[in-house]
């Protein structure tokens, strides 16, 4: 198969790194070559965060450029719009409808645009969901990342079993049940 490119975008602290690690390990279980690219350091302090996951028969570049992503998994609405140019023609956006004000909005220098969702839907194939509520229902607002991975796994036609195994191997034992539940809720989302 051709290389499949997933961009995971969000706000520092939302758990995008764990999500990319789960996806990386899951595609290995499926027998693919994979590259995952993360950014550490400065951008983790509440800034805009991007990780790339690319898999296929043989993957060279670890990064994704404009017009190349098959799937953008956005943990926050504004971040989906920011990285829309990276979506391939015919690509898919899965977006958490949660809004987190960036500092220029907090300080009143600018406003959070109010028609982000509509704008995304005009330009791309979008699945929007309130992953935060689902995560809270699963047991913790911190499980937003795993809820979204569930939705993404379903979209990419992965079997749920492989994912559950990877989750069990990746997250600490005391969060296992919470994350499995969060994953299932995402996987069942339609």
């Amino acid at each position: 198969m051709n290389t499949y490119s997933v961009m995971i975008v969000g706000v520092g602290g939302q758990g995008t790194l764990l999500a990319s690690r789960l996806l990386g390990n899951a595609v290995i279980s499926e027998g693919y070559d994979v590259k995952v690219s993360e950014v550490h350091g400065m951008s983790q302090r509440g800034g805009s965060v991007i990780t790339y996951v690319r898999f296929g028969e043989k993957v060279y570049s670890p990064i994704i450029e404009k017009g190349e992503a098959d799937l953008i998994l956005a943990f926050e609405l504004l971040e989906a719009a920011r990285y829309l140019p990276y979506l391939k023609k015919g690509g898919k956006i899965i977006v958490n409808t949660q809004k987190i004000d960036p500092m220029p909005v907090v300080t009143g220098n600018t406003v959070y645009p109010d028609s982000v969702r509509e704008e995304l839907q005009k330009k791309a194939d979008v699945t929007a969901l309130d992953a935060l509520s689902l995560a809270v229902e699963a047991g913790s607002p911190k499980a937003v990342n795993v809820v979204l991975m569930g939705v993404a796994a379903k979209h990419m036609n992965f079997k749920a079993d492989i994912w559950k195994k990877v989750i069990e191997e990746t997250v600490p034992p005391k969060f296992k049940e919470l994350n499995l539940k969060a994953f299932e809720m995402g996987y069942a989302f339609n």
């Binding site: 509440g46 060279y60 570049s61 450029e65 190349e68 719009a81 004000d101 909005v105 300080t107 645009p113």
Partner: protein, 575 residues
């Protein structure tokens, strides 16, 4: 043998383990930090955080001379600090193998400049290897030890952010236990003074000649022929970008060793191809070598000197191909990184803003204090420069001392702030230095340091007593404040600025993200009392936003630090 998805830095650490490395000493710096964090998970390796990169490099040299396989890791700017021992280590050579890893940061994801460390290999006359993915990170680390021992000199391993911080499949093997080599007293080898250094320099030049010969034929440099209309000479991650963009439309010379560079190998490849491109991020290092040996290559005439490359950049430049994409037709506010909710630096920066102080800043999370709304930092140069540049500022015009301060973190102070503070005491400037002691090395992701009382494994260690240290070097005025207490903090700054002698303020409060820090319950805004004056928003706390004319506190982020409470004139913020 097994395969695992490893981060580039994790694979370097695994390479250290498998190579039988004995001693690792490093100073944290993005994107190199995780090498040493992962190395510390292997009990077979002695690992430590050193106070700075110069010390780390000297520790590794000492271990090598004692017969061990030794390693030090750092970011690109750290190599500036370690350059002094490294240049002479090139003369003494090694006993046990010594490898120094340096991680460059094209695109400056987390750095203050974009320097190209390959120049150091040439300047110090040391071999430099550059892996392109995690599997090569592991293999090249092991190879670097072999080559270090084969040629008797340190070998540099160069990484870039995308290699250091990307995960790819990596083949693992067992550790080879290495015995310490015997140390024999040998002053002509290890005592570098003119009589011994002069013959050593001849050895260094001869070594480069033999290393160049080695690079002509060794499999570290590889040639792949496909279509020969385009020939690509490249190294590191740029090889991946080129392969992705051009596939079999081009032939490739991938240089696993970027210094010294072969001549015949490159010339032979060039002779096979019609048009040659050198694809390398940052400076025209390989390109200049190609031009020196008389080749007609494209390089920085078509590719940028700045930032990171990508497959699409290469496709655009060489093939003229561009991908279609959509963009949102709405204005999207930026999302810069911010000081975390409950960050102890926030109160200090607010107090400095109130004092209208000119602030000589330094390297760490607190550099973010330069951004809106705090805007409390005026200069940032390099590790330690806050203190020494404040001294220079105050010597240039003694009036400056009345409103200028230096701010520096605990780890950065230990790294290279102490010498600046000694300068202030010794040469008596009425400077006011503030150490932001948050009990951890924050920016790079929570590493222990000599002030925290713990070593790299989290075990108890001797802690530097900063107050006693300041007294010992001759700073008489030392005040400790809690930056969560705005009045106390501002009063201390005000008093010390007006004082006509050197002074040190220690702004002490652990990083709010440390696991052992107990937080207060989140604060709430009393909607009836809130007048919507936005005073609480002047501190740039990410937990506070403004909705329908009132301030709102996000309970998921607030840690109850109470700094905003002190700003509210209407008593609207409370438990």
């Amino acid at each position: 043998m097994s395969e695992k998805l490893l981060l580039g830095n994790e694979a370097v650490a695994r390479g250290l383990y498998e190579a039988g490395c004995h001693v690792v000493s490093s100073y944290p710096g993005t994107p190199s930090t995780e090498i040493t964090e992962f190395a510390a998970t292997y009990d077979e390796i002695y690992s430590e955080w050193a106070p700075n990169e110069k010390v780390a490099c000297e520790v590794a040299m000492g271990a090598s001379i004692a017969g061990a396989r030794a390693f030090c890791g750092m970011k690109h700017v750290g190599l500036n600090v370690a350059a002094d021992p490294l240049f002479t280590a090139s003369y003494t050579g090694v006993n046990g193998g010594m490898v120094l890893a340096v991680a460059d940061d094209p695109g400056m994801h987390s750095s203050q400049n974009e320097q190209d460390s390959r120049h150091y290999a040439e300047a110090a006359k040391l071999m430099m290897l550059e892996p392109s993915d995690s599997d090569e990170c592991l293999k090249y680390t092991k190879l670097a030890f072999e080559l270090s021992e084969k040629f008797g000199a340190p070998v540099i391993l160069r990484l870039t952010t995308r290699v250091a911080h990307s995960r790819s499949l990596t083949e693992l093997s067992e550790r080879a236990e290495m015995k310490l080599k015997e140390y024999t007293k040998n002053p002509p080898k290890y005592v570098m003074m003119p009589a011994y250094s002069i013959p050593k320099h001849i050895e260094v030049e001869n070594r480069i000649i033999s290393q160049t010969k080695f690079c002509e034929t060794d499999s570290i440099n590889t040639v792949e022929y496909y279509d020969k209309k385009i020939g690509v000479i490249t190294a590191g991650n740029c090889y991946n970008y080129a392969k992705e963009a051009l596939g079999e439309k081009a032939s490739y010379l991938k240089l696993g060793c970027v210094y010294p560079l072969p001549e015949k190998l490159i010339a032979d490849f060039a002779a096979e191809c019609d048009t040659l491109y050198v694809i390398e991020e940052l400076d025209p290092f390989i390109e200049n070598h190609c031009k020196k040996i008389g080749l007609n290559v494209h390089g920085k005439n078509v590719f940028t000197l700045q930032g990171e490359y990508s497959q699409s950049l290469i496709a655009k430049v060489i093939l003229g191909e561009e991908k279609e994409f959509n963009k949102a037709d709405i204005s999207i506010p930026g999302r810069p990184p911010v000081l975390c909710a409950g960050c102890p630096h926030r109160g200090l920066f607010y107090a400095l803003k109130q004092e209208k102080a000119t602030v000589c800043g330094d390297i760490g999370c607190y550099t973010l204090g330069a951004l809106k709304p705090l805007e409390s930092i005026d200069t940032v140069i390099c590790m330690g420069a806050s203190i020494s540049s404040l001294h220079g500022r105050n010597k240039a015009n003694p009036e400056n001392a009345k409103n200028s301060v230096a701010v520096i973190g605990d780890s950065t102070f230990i790294h290279s702030g102490i010498t600046g503070l000694i300068d202030i005491a010794y040469n008596n400037s009425a400077s006011t230095v503030i150490i932001l002691d948050n009990s951890i090395t924050g920016m790079t992701g929570h590493q222990e340091n000599p002030t925290t009382g713990k070593n790299i494994k989290g075990d108890p260690a001797t802690a530097v007593d900063i107050v006693a240290l300041a007294h010992a070097i001759g700073i008489k005025r030392v005040t400790v404040v809690d930056p969560y207490n705005l009045k106390e903090t501002r009063d201390a700054i005000h008093t010390e600025l007006q004082t006509d002698e050197p002074s040190l303020i220690i702004s002490r409060r652990p990083c709010a993200l440390l696991k052992y820090v107990k937080h207060n319950p989140p604060l709430k805004v009393n909607e009836e009392k809130c007048r919507g004056c936005k005073m609480c928003m002047k501190i740039g706390c990410p937990a506070i936003s403004f909705k329908d004319g009132k301030s709102v506190i996000d309970f998921t982020q607030c840690v109850g630090c109470g700094v905003c409470t002190q700003l509210c004139a209407f008593g609207a913020i409370g438990d």
